[in-house]
Symmetry: C2
Subunit: 301 residues, 2 copies
């Protein structure tokens, strides 16, 4: 039997990986600091409470559960702060140890969460897995270095290692400090919402598709980095407009009231060919439908 251990399993992405992993036939073990979350979680998942930053908590869990597959999504994710938080180093250390314990216990496949911030954002454009990493942030540096060590451990232990490089995402339950959630909540509350001109082009994917892509990557045998993005660029302004339409309050939007950040790259879009062709995954939710669903979810709060 294929048995997957999912870390960060109560998180924004992680919680949505459990059902697709079950559908793919995995016996699913989920780990979160608090164990099984209060919110609805799919049936047939075995929950474990562990703080992976505790000395050897991850290793002990690996040796107890004996997973064949490891989907490691847990990381420091405080909005804004995560880009340059020293906590990223703690997660490098915890991840390296976790993957080492997994390999030593005979695990077969590791999937890590990488980031589009591993790429050279000065160049920007359509970002392809074969381009050399050039992270400008500590978050990107930490994710890139972690993947390098994990790939080395995989080679030593005979496990395959892949890393899903996440681009931009949104969906119900997102942290309210993030773009789509904050605009949706503001407009639904009848507040004026100021944004930049939003001319930068980004690659947005619904969180359920991001989670589905990770589940597909766990079941695949693709190695190395794999972009998890739609492959389609959209101006951030268009995303904000869709939120305003769905909220019925385009009148409250002050587009252009905020300055663009000087260091914002013009275009960051995933080359999604590896995800489509090698992993065999295509997203199911278009941007318009996904934004409408997300705004409805905030309306229902």
């Amino acid at each position: 039997v294929s048995r997957v251990l999912v870390t960060g399993a109560s998180g924004f992405i992680g919680a949505r990986t459990l059902a697709p992993l079950r559908e793919r036939g995995f016996e699913v073990h989920a780990v979160a600091r608090a164990g099984r979350p209060q919110a609805s979680a799919p049936d047939g998942v075995t929950w474990h409470a562990a703080d992976l930053l505790d000395d050897d908590a991850g290793g002990a869990l690996i040796r107890r559960v004996r997973p064949t597959h490891l989907l490691h999504l847990a990381w420091y994710a405080e909005p804004g702060a995560f880009w340059s938080a020293p906590e990223n180093a703690d997660w490098v250390a915890a991840t390296v140890r976790l993957v080492g314990a997994f390999g030593a216990a005979g695990g077969l496949r590791v999937v890590l969460a990488g980031t589009c911030a591993e790429y050279d954002w000065n160049a920007g454009g359509v970002l392809t897995e074969s381009s050399p990493p050039a992270p400008a942030t500590f978050y990107g540096i930490a994710k890139d270095a972690t993947r390098r060590v994990a790939e080395g451990l995989g080679s030593l232990h005979g496990a395959t290692v892949a890393a899903g490089r996440v681009f931009f995402l949104y969906g119900p339950g997102e942290d309210p400090r993030r773009l789509v959630a904050s605009v949706a909540r503001g407009l639904l509350n009848g507040e004026r919402v100021a944004t930049s001109e939003g001319r930068q082009v980004r690659d947005f994917m619904h969180v359920q598709d991001v989670a589905g892509a990770f589940a597909a990557l766990v079941a695949a045998d693709t190695e190395g980095p794999v972009n998890i993005g739609s492959g389609d660029g959209v101006e951030v302004r268009r995303v904000v407009d869709l939120v305003a339409q769905a909220a019925g309050r385009p009148d409250l939007l002050d587009v252009g009231a905020l300055e663009m950040r000087a260091d914002e790259p013009a275009v960051l879009v995933a080359d999604a060919r590896r995800l489509h062709d090698e992993v065999g995954f295509r997203p199911e939710t278009g941007l318009e439908d996904g934004i409408a669903e997300t705004v409805d979810w905030w309306r229902s709060r």
Copy 2:
């Protein structure tokens, strides 16, 4: 006062860094698993016993000693095995946590031990710090990734970070399984010693000079990787011949009796300009004198 904490301080290199660090005016704190070694150690050094692989042992030591400088030499170093040992991952984790704790405690400067195995050995030749890392071994991958994360932590915390990339070394007290030591011991014992043709060119430095270079790097403000090598290439055959001359038994040498390894690069020599010009360090011991001294040391055992 400048206070340096030296890890791996009872090791082959580490033990020889303590005196030059004292001479440069540092208050020297040394850490080793067993604390102060039995063998002679210079006066005026404060010893600490700690296993840096123990959960937070390094962090606790940092918070107690409050060093301004950190010279981190401790690593898994079992001859032969270290190239592809999973223990390298444990040292990635321990090092990242140690440097994080050092930065968080207000430390000013970190010097790590890197390796010439971070370079692309397929290319080989004279290896310069600005060439992109392309490690082929897990040891090289782990050292490279560790430096990346440490540099990121340095930026976050306002500490400078350098990494001395060690090339080939020898000297009294070396592990008897390594080249110069094993040939010297064999010949001094009157045994026949088989070697390869030894046409590969390497950069050898006496361990006391390697240690002196690390001490200079601690006192300098150079950032990033710095080759610790002589800058002079020598055929391995010449090193072996010098050992045989010093031992007085060239008759026992079977040069060419062993096959060259197919993947041995022809030339691996340090570009030593950063070490010479930016760090201001030049080695004191020539190869002939250094080998003679080393063989004498083995003779006196």
